[in-house]
């Protein structure tokens, strides 16, 4: 059994020797002296912007004059309605404070400076009125009023609680929390998540969860697998990257979650302010009606199938801190992902 000390010792052995330290320092001085770093940075930024402008010009020049018709959401029975129909409520979260250049501001202690903000949370398990959604609402309500000052968690610390095996997916650290999970599952006739495992590849995930080739195929869109985990019932979460080429070119990190109906999963998604989203229903090339929601920081593709609830969360370029998925690109992505067999 691996102990904390084993991990410490394993890392302790990763270090540069004296020669490597001196070599790196010499290189740093050589690079720093070769050019004025700030000038180089400014020049690179200007070049990047010029390149982007040129690229856009080419795309626009070659584009056919296609106008996207956004179908307004109407409250019709059997339809996906809108994000508000997935809402779990508002939650206060800490958001990093940024400079005008978009950089994080640090506190004197070296932590990222945070500001409390109220955001909308949505369920990833089902629409309002479904047992999965009601269960998520009830669990969220419980969490909001439980251990509000964090004292119990502090007492528990990082030691093993004994709840890891059966209630670990719900982050339970007391018997009271575990009891609440059981109560919710019984009330809404849901089963607990179990059989957590991680997949080694996209093919492995599809095989283990019995899902079809949901990445689909397209000449203009490339989806790559990053990592994924799944449960015994076929519920899974995959993280990867999607790249759209051509007129609506963009690269975005993405998460695809599939929740099996009949299972309780307390995971929620922070969507910021729901009012920031443009939302419309869209029928994909695979004949699945999806809800599309797009904003200047996040895009969502949401589908409800007979057995599952699927949410594709598009995060933009996380490392570049940017989001440039257009409404057209979102529709192209919805057409590519084949959610009909999920």
């Amino acid at each position: 059994m691996m102990q904390r000390q084993d991990i410490f010792e394993a890392y302790e052995r990763v270090k540069p020797d004296r020669a490597a330290k001196e070599r790196m320092l010499e290189n740093i001085w050589a690079l720093a002296e070769d050019e004025d770093l700030m000038k180089r940075e400014r020049k690179e930024n200007i070049m990047k912007k010029q390149e982007k402008r040129r690229a856009k010009k080419v795309y626009y020049g070659a584009a056919a004059a296609a106008v996207l018709m956004l179908v307004p959401i109407t409250a019709a029975a059997g339809h996906l309605l809108g994000l508000w129909n997935l809402g779990i409520g508002k939650q206060k979260v800490d958001i990093p404070v940024k400079t005008v250049e978009g950089e994080d501001i640090l506190t004197p202690e070296g932590n990222v400076q945070l500001q409390e903000q109220e955001v909308d949370m949505i369920s990833l398990q089902g629409m309002a009125g479904s047992p999965e959604h009601m269960a998520a609402m009830e669990w969220q309500e419980f969490l909001e009023n439980y251990d509000t000052d964090g004292k119990i968690l502090q007492e528990v610390g990082n030691a093993a609680t004994g709840f890891e095996e059966e209630y670990g997916e719900y982050l339970c650290y007391t018997q009271e929390m575990a009891d609440k999970i059981d109560e919710i599952c019984e009330k809404y006739q849901l089963t607990k998540l179990n059989g957590f495992a991680e997949s080694d590849s996209y093919e492995d995930l599809c095989a283990k969860t019995g899902s079809g080739d949901f990445f689909g195929s397209s000449e203009n869109i490339f989806v790559t697998y990053g990592n994924a985990f799944y449960y015994a019932d076929g519920t899974f979460l995959l993280e990867g990257t999607a790249a759209v080429t051509g007129e609506n070119a963009c690269v975005t990190d993405c998460q695809i979650s599939r929740d099996r109906k009949g299972t309780f999963n307390g995971t929620m998604l922070n969507v910021g302010d729901m009012d920031d989203y443009r939302q419309w229903e869209y029928e994909t090339k695979n004949g699945v009606t999806v809800l599309l929601a797009n904003s200047d920081h996040k895009g969502l593709i949401i589908a409800e199938t007979e057995k599952s609830f699927v949410v594709v969360n598009l995060l933009g370029d996380i490392s570049g801190n940017s989001y440039d998925v257009s409404d057209e690109a979102l529709e192209m992505l919805a057409d590519t992902f084949d959610l009909s067999e999920t």
């Binding site: 691996m2 010792e9 990763v14 540069p16 490597a20 290189n27 004025d36 700030m38 070296g110 990222v112």
Partner: protein, 159 residues
């Protein structure tokens, strides 16, 4: 160095104070010594270009950890791949700078990137989950979740 807030002496001091930390962070991402050295250099070049004055050594260290991990992620993205499997580097372990006979490290480096960082920050650097959450810009529960999953996965590797 004309535009830097720091003198050569300042940078050298900071470098020797934190180079091992920055090296470990970069090695966690890059998994080989050559790429790690490049990214360590890039991180300290960012320090030279940085317009911030650090108010404590902790501040300095946290900034370097976050900057190094962002630089590594950018590099991996720029190069259009994720760092290879540990086995790839074991073929030439000595040249790759991979510490020999270190199965625990091998298991850690097989973890997905987001788990590796929390394992490193928690078990080696000794940050608590709230501090890690602030550095990685996520919630404490996400950090605890990642630690739980990392532990499960490490357990599997070590069996």
């Amino acid at each position: 160095m004309a535009s830097s807030l720091y003198s050569e002496e300042d940078v050298t001091e900071i470098y020797y104070r934190h180079v091992e930390t920055v090296y470990r962070v970069c090695f966690s991402f890059m998994k080989n010594a050559a790429d790690t050295e490049d990214l360590v250099q890039e991180t300290f070049l960012k320090l030279i270009a940085c317009k911030k004055r650090f108010q404590s050594e902790n501040h300095e260290k946290a900034w370097l950890i976050v900057t190094a991990s962002n630089a590594c992620k950018d590099a991996l993205r720029r190069w259009g791949h994720t760092a290879g499997n540990v086995e790839d580097y074991q073929l030439g372990a000595e040249e790759a700078g991979f510490p020999e006979d270190n199965p625990v490290l091998e298991a850690i480096l097989e973890l997905p990137e987001k788990y590796r960082m929390v394992v490193y920050l928690y078990y080696y650097e000794g940050y608590n989950t709230a501090e890690i959450a602030k550095m990685l810009k996520c919630s404490s529960s996400t950090v605890r979740n990642r630690l739980t999953r990392a532990r499960k996965r490490l357990k599997k590797y070590m069996e």
